[in-house]
């Protein structure tokens, strides 16, 4: 069987783990061939890839949506061609009305930012703060996960137990370590003080750590949180620099999506929604994750 896969982006660390998880898993299955395409963050390109898959007659399609609002026409295309479709990682807007032979495998983004922020809040409380300010580093503004994770931060801070925390700055560093480092340096040079950095992903968090270190700030004075639990992030946590990250089981999502796609292609029925939970990673349980992502 041939399965066409359209990934939102290839140069995203997290999605790379997901993609590799899927491909490694496909390697263990007999007669399953993956055709993986890179949509390079372009909705139209992704739609075209689906149409190209259909023209090539694949048996099933897996989509990691660039824009989760643009999934309705994609579902339509696949349904018209009678080819099963599985969305992975990013939740399609038409989840409730997915046509037959379509499914969704992911973790719930609401959890990621929430787990991260709650842990940061807990650490600040533990440190005995009664007033605290944090800076928020956002991913690319046009990206759904960036918006959701930022929203999660706001939602957590709105709860009574965390309301002592104020957001002093909120800026985008486009998921990038470099831009993250520059952003934090610019903040520091503007004399902005903060007790914690809450980043939408690990890369920006690492950038923040590098900038803080370069400015001679002791890493136990600042709490830094990210999302993804990438190798670099876990190494930073092991070094005592990163305090919080959230493990998203990328490989699990990848293999789960492929299983669903193959099952649909063979005419079996599959749950419409398959949830793979986010897990909080702290120095306490770090060891459990070092061999994962």
């Amino acid at each position: 069987e041939t399965v066409g896969v359209s990934m939102a982006a290839f140069d995203d660390n997290f999605l790379t783990v997901l993609r590799n998880g899927m491909q490694d898993y496909a390697g263990t299955l007999d007669g399953v061939e993956l055709q993986v395409e890179d949509a390079q963050g372009d909705v139209s390109k992704q739609m075209s890839q689906i149409q190209n898959f259909i023209a090539s007659g694949v048996d099933a399609i897996i989509i990691n949506a660039v824009d989760t609002d643009a999934t309705a026409p994609m579902s339509q295309l696949a349904a018209d061609a009678g080819i099963p479709l599985v969305y992975v990682n990013r939740q399609p807007v038409n989840l409730d009305t997915l046509p037959e032979k379509q499914a969704f495998v992911a973790s719930n983004e609401v959890d990621s930012g929430t787990l991260e922020t709650k842990e940061v809040c807990r650490l600040l409380t533990e440190a005995g703060k009664t007033e605290a300010s944090i800076v928020v580093m956002m991913g690319e503004l046009s990206n759904q996960a960036a918006r959701q994770r930022t929203q999660d931060v706001h939602d957590v801070l709105a709860t009574p137990e965390c309301s002592f925390i104020k957001i002093s700055e909120e800026q985008t560093a486009n998921w990038s370590r470099q831009q993250g480092a520059d952003l934090v340096t610019n903040w520091l040079s503007a004399g902005i003080a903060f007790d914690a950095v809450v980043a939408n992903n690990d890369e920006m968090a690492i950038g923040a750590i590098q900038a803080l270190k370069a400015a001679g700030i002791a890493m136990d004075a600042v709490i830094v949180g990210g999302v993804d639990a990438t190798q670099d992030a876990l190494a930073a946590m092991a070094a005592g620099d990163l305090d919080v990250t959230v493990f998203q089981n990328a490989a699990g999502q990848g293999s789960g999506a492929l299983d669903a796609a193959l099952a649909l292609a063979r005419g079996e029925t599959v749950e419409r929604e398959v949830w793979i939970p986010f897990e909080l990673v702290t120095p306490a349980n770090l060891a459990d994750y070092q061999s994962k992502n």
Partner: protein, 338 residues
């Protein structure tokens, strides 16, 4: 010219030269046949004998194609337009916000839902045109290089796209609006636009002036052409077409997103240059641009068809772009004049 005293210049033969696009057309045919051949060898299928694939080959590049038609005209004047991709994103966002249907839960303007379809269309074209007029005016009246004027617009328009809804996509568009992105409509729009501007460039004064300005702006000015006014026109048209492309993109995806159209300007410029438009200005044709666009589409479809690994696709794509132009150059090579 031996004897006769009254012999004028030798009689003219109006040589109908082969159009220069012919050579790039041959490159396209060559690429397609290569895929066909490789298809039979490696996939055991025909590449071209597939209605669906022939459609998607053009469909997937029709938005880039619409932009490229405008960009070609800009390049013929000796300019460049880097803003078109961002203008696609900006117009998609703004126009879509006037095209939301009444039953969508979170419209941008709750009071303005379910509007007749011509409103978002007019809004989209107007915004694109406005961006173009700003580009053109900056270039004409402040004499800054087109590269900088349109780079500024590129950055600003992308900013507007993100700012407009704070990055939220605009969804729940009316079926009437989505219709212009449905099925092969984008292809029809692309080819229609190409035809119109092919005629405009070849048979109207607008076209003659466009070429003249690109070939030698000083000479054009001395010959009485109002360069400033004309350039604004050309950039306005390019902006309008980028706006149209934004409408088609949003309609096709049934949503508008701030990141739409990223890097399309490069694809559009590449399509024009592959099609024989010279970045030095004064030379180029819409037919060539259409072929250049289709070459890009053919490549994408061919790669998927041959199941080429995505990692290799880009590497190969870069090489094919270069090879296509080299082949074209080689075929056209005239004896070089120093």
């Amino acid at each position: 010219m031996t004897t006769t005293s009254e012999s004028l210049a030798p009689p003219r033969v109006r040589r109908r030269k082969l159009p220069t696009e012919l050579s790039i057309l041959l490159v396209l045919v060559g690429i397609a046949l290569t895929f066909e051949l490789l298809g039979w060898i490696f996939v055991g299928q025909s590449f071209l004998m597939n209605q669906q694939r022939l459609t998607i080959m053009i469909l997937q590049v029709s938005v880039v194609g619409i932009i490229a038609v405008g960009v070609t005209q800009v390049i013929i004047t000796g300019g460049i337009d880097l803003s078109s991709g961002s203008v696609v994103g900006m117009t998609a966002m703004i126009a879509a916000s006037f095209a939301q249907s009444a039953d969508w839960a979170r419209p941008v303007y709750p009071a303005l839902v379910g509007l007749p379809v011509f409103i978002p269309l007019v809004v989209g074209l107007a915004i694109g045109t406005l961006a173009g007029v700003i580009n053109g005016s900056l270039i004409s009246y402040t004499k800054i290089p087109p590269f900088i004027a349109t780079l500024g617009m590129m950055v600003s328009a992308r900013g507007v796209a993100k700012w407009y809804t704070k990055g939220q996509p605009v969804s729940g568009l009316t079926p009437e609006f989505n219709f212009i992105g449905f099925g092969i409509w984008p292809v029809v729009i692309f080819l229609g636009v190409a035809l119109i501007f092919h005629i405009a460039l070849r048979y109207t004064r607008y076209g003659k002036f466009t070429y003249a300005i690109g070939a030698n702006p000083q000479a054009a000015r001395v010959s009485g052409i109002n360069i400033e006014k004309h350039l604004i026109k050309v950039y306005a048209i390019a902006g309008m077409l980028a706006g149209l492309a934004g409408l088609v993109t949003a309609a096709r995806a049934q949503t508008a997103q701030a990141g739409m159209g990223v890097m399309y300007e490069l694809d559009a410029i590449a399509a024009a240059v592959i099609g024989g438009t010279s970045l030095a200005g004064g030379q180029g044709r819409i037919t060539g641009t259409v072929i250049g666009t289709i070459i890009l589409g053919t490549m994408t479809s061919g790669f998927t068809f041959l199941r080429i690994d995505a990692y290799y696709q880009e590497i190969i794509k870069g090489m094919i772009i270069v090879a296509a132009v080299v082949a074209d150059q080689y075929r056209q090579r005239k004896r070089k004049k120093v």
